[in-house]
Amino acid sequence: MKILLIEDDPFFQKFYSFKLKEQKFEVDVARDGVEGMTKMQQSIPNLVLLDLIMPNKDGFEVLQDKMNNPQLRDIPVLVFSTLSQEQDVKKALQLGAKDYVNKSFFDFDTLLTKVKTILNIQG
């Protein structure tokens, strides 16, 4: 299963890549929304993990572009959230994101559970 991680923060890029690869996922990383859209079109992932506040093209624009592209529309997206981003999460869900998860160094299990649920992976 291939996951595209669209995230501008080098700390979270490396942390989530490492943890997801440990779980035997294939992980590709894009540093912003522009690179994310390019990579999504080059090789369609099974799931996108998407940060919302990024340079060049933010997560909302990625969701909008994806929704307008029939080839990409059905790729499930899980968005990242941090403190007090309730309104951002609501907007992302309205733009087609499946769910959200709080960034945490200590709680990877919640993210993994949501990834497995969306990808219909048992166990």
Partner: protein, 134 residues
């Protein structure tokens, strides 16, 4: 995750967050007039947002809250809801310094500085209440 890997990630967290603070300090020092450059404000906003996420993810609660307050301040300046006065620039610079102290303390001892009093004073001066921000 083994201890070595965990320590590598803590080192990466510190490199990333301290780098973000250095970038904020350099950008705020560039401020020359009461009309801030919108591009610089956008970068400052994103840097504060990144710091909030990094510190929150690592469990450094008051350092994350201080970053959050800076994020809200920059957002309000961008949206013309807060004036970019010289007094506010002093407050922002002091808040960035507090972030730097706390990150340095984390680097040396593993624990953050309690920034609750600073956050409360900054909230009073800007009229922002973090508890009301959604």
């Amino acid at each position: 995750m083994d201890e070595n890997t965990k320590n590598e990630f803590i080192t990466l967290f510190l490199q990333t967050s301290q780098g973000n603070v250095s970038s904020m300090k350099a950008l705020i020092a560039k401020k020359q007039s009461d009309k801030p450059d919108p591009d610089i404000l956008s970068v400052l906003y994103r840097l504060a947002h990144s710091l909030k996420g990094e510190c929150s993810a690592m469990g450094f609660v008051t350092t994350a809250k201080n970053s959050h307050l800076l994020e809200v301040v920059f957002k309000k300046i961008i949206n013309n809801e807060l004036l970019f006065t010289p007094e506010l620039v002093v407050d922002i610079s002091e808040s960035i310094n507090q972030l730097e102290y706390s990150l340095n303390h984390i680097a040396s001892s593993g624990s953050e500085i309690d920034l609750t009093n600073h956050i409360s004073q900054f909230e009073q001066r800007t009229g922002i209440r973090l508890s009301d921000v959604r």
